[in-house]
């Protein structure tokens, strides 16, 4: 392709500006998490300062955000684990078998994405009161499955379709049952896909706010809900807030960096179908 030097240069310049727009809020916010209280807010902004961990100490110990971190971990990993156990076999079947209604079933599962969360929140709220599930991790895990299972099925189906079915057929000719073939031949190949799916679903569950706000009890509220409590009517504890923000952001960013290829591929696979 013939691209002139000027065009190429302008592409780099525009990209550079864009990167600044993305990174400045994130970096400035992360820096504030390490600022002592007197310079949480300042105009002009302070970029160089003696970093302190007092904000983290405050949110973890005084405000018990360690508990919220634990809740977030339990709820996100629990719901992802269950969604995978239920969704991966279904995705396999939808990728491999053509049966009456298979296409309709897939479309129907995908369309579940359209449900506004409030439609899920209302019945769950009432149900949780009846069965005393409010204030349990299991309740929120259950609610998260509403959007995690369809996502798992959708993404994993994309990975299974990519594997030639000749693989398990030849294994079955050699005497494996379908389940054995699935376990010993297909699963190892599709493991990167499962990891990418698990991560993406984990990010969704980890970041979720609406259902956690409504359905979480005092002992089960997650980090995003805890973060919002630092915004008061009169004033905002910016340093503490950004400390919590950083705790929410960091695992996701690290996971994204480690698995960037898988994630990009997984997203593209799941979305473009």
């Amino acid at each position: 392709m013939a691209i002139s030097l000027r065009q190429r240069l302008s592409a780099y310049v525009i990209m550079g500006i864009l990167l600044l727009f993305i990174l400045i809020p994130l970096v400035a916010g992360a820096l504030t998490a390490f600022k002592p209280q007197i310079i949480w807010v300042s105009s002009p902004p302070v970029w160089v300062f003696q970093p302190t961990l007092e904000n983290f100490e405050f949110v973890f110990i005084q405000r018990q955000n360690l508990l919220h971190l634990r809740n977030s971990l339990i709820i996100a990993s629990g719901s992802v684990a269950i969604a995978l156990i239920l969704g991966v076999p279904a995705a396999y079947a939808l990728a491999r078998f053509r049966f009456r209604g298979s296409k309709g079933l897939l479309q129907w599962l995908i369309s579940l994405r359209m449900i506004p969360p409030i439609v899920v929140a209302l019945p769950f709220y009432v149900l949780f009161q009846t069965f005393d599930l409010r204030g349990t991790h299991f309740g929120l895990i259950l609610a998260y499955l509403t959007f995690l299972i369809p996502l798992v099925i959708w993404m994993m189906r994309g990975y299974f379709v990519e594997i030639p079915s000749a693989m398990e057929e030849s294994a079955m000719v050699e005497g494996y049952s379908r389940l054995q073939a699935l376990r010993k031949v297909v699963l190892p190949v599709v493991t990167p896909g499962i990891i990418a799916t698990a991560l993406l679903n984990f990010i969704f569950a980890w970041n979720e706010y609406f259902l956690a706000l409504i359905l979480g009890g005092r002992d089960t509220s997650t980090l995003p809900v805890a973060a919002a409590t630092y915004v008061g009517r009169a004033r905002v504890e910016w340093g503490n807030l950004f400390a919590v923000n950083l705790i929410i952001m960091l695992p996701v960013i690290i996971l994204t960096i480690i698995l960037r290829r898988q994630l990009v591929k997984g997203l593209a696979l799941g979305l473009v179908e």
Binding site: I3, Q7, R8, M15, L18, L19, I22, L23, I24, P25, L26, V41, S42, S43, P44, P45, L86, P89, A90, Y92, A93, L94, R96, F99, S102, L112, M114, I115, P116, P117, I118, V119, V120, L122, P123, V126, L145, T146, I149, P150, R178, N207, Y209, I214, P224, A227, A228, V231, V236, W238, N245, I248, M249, I253, T256, R260, V264, A268, L271, V272
Partner: protein
């Protein structure tokens, strides 16, 4: 295996039964895989929909003992409520602006990335960062950026000699500010889809078009766009459906204010149910919302399938 069992007459019965069982299990094996997920989805998704639908035909509050059947009273009430109408109008505007904004930016960035040769994988990673960050964190971070007194944005504006703004507190700028942040957060989704779509394009049509001396713009309009139509539709469909449900960002940035200029449907329904204790009215409101989302996506879906079948 079957041959050996048929030799013994005693085993024929069970042999036939086992063969039948085997045949059946082969024929319906897919349900064995699908059933667990299907049952779970029925419980966690279908039950809530049915429940909310039912709810909207009765008069229900959190503490009500009696739940009289009122047919369309809730629907009528909601449709006559000025706040609901305002929220609906705001949501439609919000969806239109943020989806087109994210689409233009996302597609633009995907095209731009193809001109860049150095460190593409790392660029992709940074470009998609906003998508992975919790909307609540994004909203709170931008609150800080947009603060009228110490926010970085106003600091930059005054540095450039422009007047500072009270971004989220004034009726003229709050909407724009929230929508821009929404675009900031969600353009990576479009970017990812379009990036994947662009990488999958065939080369041949481009080469022949260049040989014929077609301009870049003609090539883009006549080759790239038509080829990408299905991908574009998927991207728009996904983003539209999600934009309708926006809650987190608006909740922490403006909570619907100032003067209801940023009140969206999700906020309205949340308030109606959990602050004003009007469960069934929220139910009716969400049914109407679901209906509108359903109609819009059905239209897009039809376009999509028409395309897929034509190719």
């Amino acid at each position: 295996m079957t041959a050996s069992t048929e030799v013994k007459p005693v085993a024929t019965e069970t042999g036939a039964f086992r063969r039948w069982l085997y045949r059946m299990s082969q024929k319906y094996v897919h349900w064995f895989f699908i059933a667990p997920a299907l049952i779970a989805v029925l419980v966690v998704a279908i039950y809530p929909i049915v429940y909310s639908t039912g709810l909207s035909f009765f008069r229900v509050t959190f503490d009500s003992r009696e739940r009289p059947f009122v047919l369309f009273e809730n629907f009528a009430w909601v449709l006559n409520d000025t706040d609901y109408r305002v929220a609906f109008g705001n949501t439609l505007l919000y969806v239109f602006v943020t989806v087109s904004g994210a689409f233009i930016l996302g597609f633009g960035v995907a095209l731009l990335l193809r001109r860049i040769t150095v460190g593409r994988n790392w660029l992709r990673l940074v470009l998609l960062l906003p998508l992975t960050i919790a909307p609540i964190v994004v909203g709170l971070t931008w609150n800080w950026m947009l603060d009228p007194l110490f926010g970085l944005i106003n600091w930059i504006l005054t540095g450039l000699g422009l007047p500072p703004q009270t971004w989220l507190a004034s009726t003229s700028t709050a909407r724009i500010a929230v929508m821009l942040v929404d675009i900031w957060q969600w353009y990576p989704l479009i970017f990812l889809i379009m990036d994947a779509g662009l990488s999958g394009l065939p080369r041949a049509p481009y080469e022949s078009a260049r040989l014929e001396g077609a301009s870049e713009w003609t090539i883009f309009r006549r080759i790239t766009l038509p080829l990408l139509r299905p991908v574009i539709l998927v991207a728009l469909l996904l983003r539209t459906v999600d934009a309708f449900r926006t809650f987190d960002l608006v909740r922490v940035m403006t909570d619907g204010g100032p003067a209801y200029t940023t009140e969206t449907l999700s906020l309205y329904l949340y308030r109606t149910a959990f602050n004003f204790n009007k469960l069934s009215r929220a139910g009716a409101g969400s049914m109407i919302m679901l209906l509108v989302i359903g109609v819009i996506s059905a239209i897009m879906f039809r376009y999509l399938y028409r395309d897929v079948e034509r190719h």
